[in-house]
């Protein structure tokens, strides 16, 4: 009787070799690369005088350091332009397909992989970006790597990896109306803390997870790294197969049927063992928002900001005080009703079409609050096109919001989309670290519906009041 987890099954199918007392040589099916974490890897190849081993298994896009307006014009910032040019030159020299700025398939790396049908169950994916876990939503092993490792995969299509421990998080029960996938993951991080998953690969399971759409599952897996986990994955099912069917690079016809047959074997056996397992009840999860400077500092929107007395250790107390000082919040005060200055809807966490639709539902027929700057940034050219076809851009425009062009944008603020120092930003992205959205910027992570409600009211409100 097999006692394997979903993770074990995929991992074992990709081990080229085990090194005694050392890591495994893990085969990587596809590598995604982008402009920021790849140039030094290509330099490394040149220094060694070697080529890319499997260029056809490498996909490149420009996303981290791209402008979100006037993409047809030359990029103004010289360093950014140089980085984008380097990516173009490297891809040309080494024979890699590049979806450059403006290309109809361009977009945030973790948005385009799934929407193009590149991301498939049972495969291994890496990218020099910690949110690579997004692709785990399809029942694949996907994780972020550093640039030395990008070079390794370019050179050999393999990585030296120690097998992580296995964790399963079960969420069961019915979600309250208006509670979203983003709230689930923010809730889980608040419970497990930012280091709770370190050393683990997480499988998300349970009927609540099963009931989610693919895009919602991607939001969950995306933030696995915020618990310190290498990645997260969800067993593929009919929802997965339906999503993949007909996408550009997905197998077609008989090949698809054969693939589905294989994909259906990808689940954790009934008696599979996990080093850690957690159970949560969906009914306990409510609309979430962060108040501090790491993604584990999340509370229910109706809760008060914690007080120092609630923490036992000196270091946790200090951590809270440091965060509250940075955010200019007081302990034990409500978060609801706080005035905000910026709203960012986008990123690999929440920049897909369902996210834009959810935001539009709340924004429709309302006006952007005067005190707020709102940036709605679709995750890819395809999402942008779809949003325009559905008239979402018009809904935003009528509210006084211009939809911008695709990219990572204010999630990490490498481009000009920076939140000014001291300003509050309700953001659908994944990190609220000090200065993440610009030096001195104060980030509150939340779902697209909460962000949309904040955009039209100028303050932190419960989005459930706006849903019909």
């Amino acid at each position: 009787m097999s006692k394997k987890t979903l993770f074990d099954k995929i991992w074992e199918a990709h081990v080229v070799k085990e090194i005694p007392n050392g890591p495994s040589v893990l085969y990587i099916d596809k590598q995604f690369i982008h402009e920021v974490t790849s140039p030094q890897a290509f330099d490394g190849l040149r220094k060694r005088g070697i080529s890319v081993f499997r260029p056809e298994q490498t996909i490149a896009t420009a996303d981290h350091n791209t402008p979100t307006i006037n993409q047809h014009l030359p990029v103004k910032d010289e360093l950014s332009r140089n980085q984008l040019d380097k990516l173009g030159q490297n891809c040309k020299e080494f024979g890699i397909e590049l979806y450059a700025l403006g290309h109809p398939k361009n977009g945030v790396v973790h948005i385009i992989g799934p929407e193009l049908g590149i991301t498939l169950p049972g495969s291994t994916y890496v990218c020099g970006d910690s949110h690579t876990a997004t692709h785990g939503a399809f029942g694949s092993i996907a994780f972020g790597i550093g640039t030395s490792e990008v070079e390794m995969v370019l050179a050999t299509q393999c990585l030296m990896q120690n097998k992580p421990k296995r964790m399963r998080i079960n969420v069961n029960g019915k979600l309250k109306k208006g509670v979203t996938a983003k709230d689930i993951i923010l809730y889980l991080i608040s419970k497990l803390t930012t280091g709770g998953g370190t050393g683990y690969f997480i499988e998300y399971a349970g009927d609540t997870i099963r009931s989610l759409s693919m895009e919602e599952r991607m939001t969950i897996c995306n933030m696995s790294i915020e618990m310190g986990a290498r990645g997260g994955l969800i067993a593929p099912d009919d929802t997965t197969f339906e999503y993949i069917k007909g996408r550009e690079f997905a197998p077609k016809g008989k090949a698809f049927d054969k693939a589905v047959e294989y994909w259906k074997t990808l689940y954790s056996d009934a008696d599979a063992e996990f080093e850690k397992e957690y159970n949560f009840d969906a009914a306990d999860i409510d609309t979430m928002i962060t108040y501090g400077t790491n993604p584990g500092m999340g509370i229910k929107i109706t809760d008060k900001i914690p007080s120092v007395n609630e923490f036992e250790s000196e270091s946790e107390k200090n951590g809270l005080q440091k965060s509250l000082k940075y955010m200019d919040f007081k302990e034990s005060e409500p978060i609801m009703g706080k005035k905000i200055d910026y709203v960012f809807i986008g990123s690999c966490t929440n920049g897909r079409i369902e996210d834009l639709r959810a935001a539009a539902e709340i924004i429709k027929g309302r006006k952007k609050a005067d005190n707020v700057t709102v940036w709605i940034v679709p995750g890819s050219k395809m999402v942008e096109k779809q949003a325009i076809e559905e008239g979402l851009d018009k809904i935003f425009k009528e509210a006084g919001i211009e939809m911008r062009q695709p990219g990572c944008s204010a999630c990490l603020a490498m481009n000009d989309d920076k939140i000014p120092a001291g300003k509050y930003s309700v953001s659908t992205s994944n990190r609220n670290f000090e200065g993440r959205q610009g030096p001195g910027a104060r980030t509150l992570l939340a779902s697209p519906v909460l962000a949309a409600a904040a955009a039209v009211t100028g303050k932190i409100v419960d989005p459930k009041e706006f849903l019909s």
Binding site: V16, K17, D43, F53, D129, S130, M414
Partner: protein, 199 residues
């Protein structure tokens, strides 16, 4: 990669927990296309004010703290996969980072750049910080061969993967190893193709 066998040095303590990669090197400094110069911006926004003047209360700006060893609070390097964080730590001149917990990706990135992450117990870390504060000129000795960290009469064993230890001791990197087994990788690809699970 530069070898690392034994480091004996004074250290710089940054007693803050959950130091994330955006603090180690903010995203706006990731525009370079080589590995140089990141050390200048290590802990940029904690180390310098808006005008670029050093903030005197930050340990890196305190003349009594210097050396090749960084001692940091629990959960060092969480967040982004950016290797620029490891380049910044290495570029500043650190060869060792001591903490009671490291984020996975940072740990790999550090070792791939000849920087040794030394994970010690929380109790040991706490005493280290106390001792450093008391006597900043006290040296810490990190012996990779024996996997021992010592300071002022106290010592603790630390764990490291055997393979990675060999790499650091000898200055080897993973790519050298992988390039040497290319035949086995090609063999693996052929077998996988036979199973028709590569789609």
């Amino acid at each position: 990669m530069e070898k690392l066998v034994k480091i004996k040095s004074t250290c710089v303590p940054v007693n803050i927990e959950n130091i994330d990669t955006d603090q180690i090197i903010p995203a706006r400094f990731l525009k370079a296309t080589d590995k140089k110069g990141f050390g200048d911006n290590l802990f940029r926004d904690w180390r310098f004010d808006k005008e670029g003047n050093p903030k005197p209360d930050f340990p890196l700006n305190n003349p009594k703290y210097k050396g090749e060893i960084l001692v940091a609070g629990k959960n060092f390097g969480s967040g982004s996969s950016r290797e620029h964080a490891a380049w910044a730590v290495a570029g500043y001149g650190f060869r060792v980072v001591i903490s009671s917990y490291f984020a996975d990706i940072f740990k790999n990135n550090a070792m791939n750049n000849g920087v040794l992450p030394v994970q010690v117990s929380e109790v040991f870390l706490k005493s280290l910080f106390e001792k450093i504060e008391d006597k900043p000129d006290l040296e810490i000795e990190v012996d990779l061969e024996k996997q021992i960290v010592k300071m002022g009469g106290m010592a603790e064993h630390f764990e490291i993967n055997e393979y990675k230890k060999e790499c650091l001791l000898n200055g080897y990197d993973d790519i050298d190893y992988l390039l040497n087994i290319k035949n086995e990788i090609e063999e693996f690809e052929k077998n996988r193709a036979k199973l028709q699970i590569v789609l």
